[in-house]
């Protein structure tokens, strides 16, 4: 009898505790989920709707296109006929992405390995690799811009090199600006990668590294055959995350130049979208076209991610 009563008491207590847990659990999540619904689901849904709308300045609102619902998408393909070199923007974005993957990832892995193996001045180097992530990017770009224009370009002029404008090597309409800005971008972007890779390397069993050392493996072989397979998921995550950058990365061009018109030699797709949405008197008119353009890019990016994922799966097999 007592047992039965106690069992009943325990059960009802458990039910009560379960209800309390559920209430607490959903209370913790309700506001963040609401935020997610508004600022992720609704924003993106609205972005899709916007690509079928136009801005009506008399009503000061966005209204659906009635005559041709796909006018904004047509507009995306007509950007070229309006003088915008879309091919060049895509090429610049692709070069940027490839350089990030090749010249950003490979050195970052090697630097991380050096730090992981605790070689000479490893903490000093780790600090300096991370430093550009701490210093305001606007400070770095302003100093670099001043240094390249007022110091390096001027010194080159002393030695007889001539430049078309006072911007010297960083003239956005010259052939020199893009490679310099690209190298600068990669040069200051090692910090977060090194931090994540050293953390991932710390998870690789030290006994594996010691065993391969005892077997007579050199450092490069240990890196390639022991450490790299251990950090491959992290490398994969970085490469997949960088695909989104193919369409959003503006290579800090906004820091260097603000909004400039018609500079296809340096501009990327990310910079183009960003500058079209920049605050200005006629920016609302651009929004539907940018939404349509973004939607096209998202479809391409999702396709690219699936492709890269399949490639990694094959490589892992």
């Amino acid at each position: 009898m007592t047992k039965a009563l106690l069992g009943g008491y325990n059960r009802s207590n458990k039910v009560k505790s379960g209800t309390k847990d559920a209430i607490f659990f959903y209370a913790l999540l309700i506001l963040p989920v609401l935020q997610f619904i508004i600022f992720y689901i609704y924003v993106n849904f609205n972005s899709i709707l916007m690509s079928f709308q136009r801005y009506d300045s008399t009503q000061a609102s966005f209204v659906f296109l009635t005559d041709n619902a796909f006018k904004n998408f047509q507009g995306v393909f007509e950007l070229t006929s309006l003088g915008l070199d879309l091919g060049r923007l895509a090429l610049n974005s692709l070069i940027l992405w490839l350089c990030i993957v090749i010249f950003g990832t490979i050195p970052a892995i090697i630097f991380s390995y050096y730090i992981y193996r605790k070689r000479a001045l490893c903490h000093f180097f780790k600090f300096f690799l991370f430093l550009p992530s701490i210093i305001p990017s606007i400070l770095l770009t302003t100093i670099f811009k001043g240094f390249m224009i007022d110091c390096i370009s001027n010194i080159m002029q002393v030695f007889g090199v001539t430049f078309k404008t006072s911007n010297g090597l960083l003239d956005p309409y010259s052939n020199t600006a893009f490679p310099i800005l690209l190298a600068y971008y990669i040069w200051i972007s090692f910090g977060s990668q090194v931090l994540f890779y050293t953390n991932a390397m710390a998870q690789v069993s030290p006994s594996l590294v010691e065993a391969s050392q005892l077997d007579g493996c050199g450092e490069s072989r240990i890196l390639l055959h022991v450490v790299l397979p251990g950090i491959l998921p992290t490398v994969k995550t970085f490469i997949i995350a960088s695909i989104a950058g193919l369409f959003t990365n503006q290579m800090m061009l906004f820091n260097f130049y603000g909004v400039i018109d018609n500079a296809p030699r340096i501009a990327t797709i990310g910079y183009f979208i960003y500058s079209m949405a920049a605050p200005g008197p006629s920016n609302y008119d651009n929004y539907p076209l940018m939404a349509a353009f973004g939607l096209c890019c998202s479809v391409l990016a999702i396709g690219a991610i699936f492709g890269i994922n399949q490639l990694f799966k094959r490589f892992e097999k």
Partner: protein
């Protein structure tokens, strides 16, 4: 001790490490040269700088603090749609409100959501985890215009006190970081606290959160540095409330109005010094293993 020392001295010098060492030295030099050049130039007067531009092989010889004094006095900006200028203290105040509120939101929300998803056995917790993974993998391009329009409709656009709501999301890598920490803490702690009569809130605050306190601090610091240095989001969303980033960005586009490059660099150093000092003070913490929270084995 002796064996350890001899092991250290007998460590083979790999050619790979020699090359990496040389490359890293070059990296540091290339990074430092423009910064040192900038620091020198920030102490040069406008006239001396003009001379230097004509003869760039010789560095200026006279230096003074005038650029810093003038830069401090000229650090004023007229916000969009306003007739009055804001001074450096108003701008710094706005930057503090923006950075602290957004950092708190961007730290607490992923932490609390990760706690709920990791410590409670409800299916919805797994859904939350799945949402984070999926949204991180699927890139959305070009939703900035839509986000601006939605922020305007909700009254968050150009509202310094409510802007943090936009940053209060759990869709970040920090959610995964907190999730792994909370998942690694044995459930026995929660059960023991429950037997002692503690409620869910008390368990979260007094029993489990202390294990993640170090990571919460680092994530807050990283977010704070990020928001302090940011100028693009305030430039788009807070036109009436310039922060130091937007002010400096505006100055950099019109440097001739503000005493040229030397004074501009001095102005940037003035607002960058607090954040650089903060980063140097906490540099060991910032560069330590972020996942060093939870229970040590």
């Amino acid at each position: 001790m002796m064996r350890r020392e001899s092991a250290k001295t007998h460590r083979k010098t790999s050619p790979l490490f020699v090359i990496v060492f040389v490359v890293l030295i070059i990296y540091v030099v290339v990074l430092l040269v423009p910064l040192i050049w900038g620091l020198f130039i920030s102490f040069v007067s406008r006239d001396a700088y003009s001379e230097y531009l004509h003869n760039p092989l010789v560095l200026p010889t006279s230096y003074s603090f005038m650029n810093y004094i003038n830069g401090f006095n000229d650090f004023n900006i007229k916000p969009v749609g306003s007739y009055t200028e804001q001074n450096i203290f108003e701008i710094l105040g706005q930057t503090l409100i923006y950075s602290i509120s957004c950092s708190l939101a961007a730290t607490i929300v992923p932490c609390v959501c990760a706690y709920a998803a990791a410590r409670y056995n409800f299916k919805f917790g797994k859904v939350i985890y799945g949402i984070v993974i999926v949204t991180m993998a699927i890139p959305i391009v070009g939703n900035l215009p839509s986000e601006i329009v939605v922020a305007q409709r909700l009254g968050i656009f150009d509202n310094l006190w409510l802007f943090w709501i936009m940053k209060a999301n759990f869709l970040s890598i920090y959610f995964l970081l907190f999730h792994s920490i909370f998942k690694g803490i044995p459930m026995a702690y929660t059960e023991a606290a429950k037997i002692d009569g503690a409620g869910n809130f008390k368990i979260m605050i007094n029993c489990i959160m202390p294990f993640a306190l170090g990571t919460i601090g680092i994530v807050f610091l990283l977010n704070f540095i990020n928001f302090w240095n940011d100028y693009q989001i305030p430039y788009y969303y807070l036109p009436s409330y310039p922060v130091v980033g937007t002010a400096v960005f505006n100055f950099s586009l019109h440097s001739e109005k503000f005493g040229g490059i030397p004074q501009l660099i001095a102005m940037i150093f003035i607002v960058a010094i607090p954040i650089i000092a903060l980063a140097i003070a906490f540099n060991k913490k910032l560069m330590s293993n972020l996942s060093d929270g939870g229970i040590k084995e």
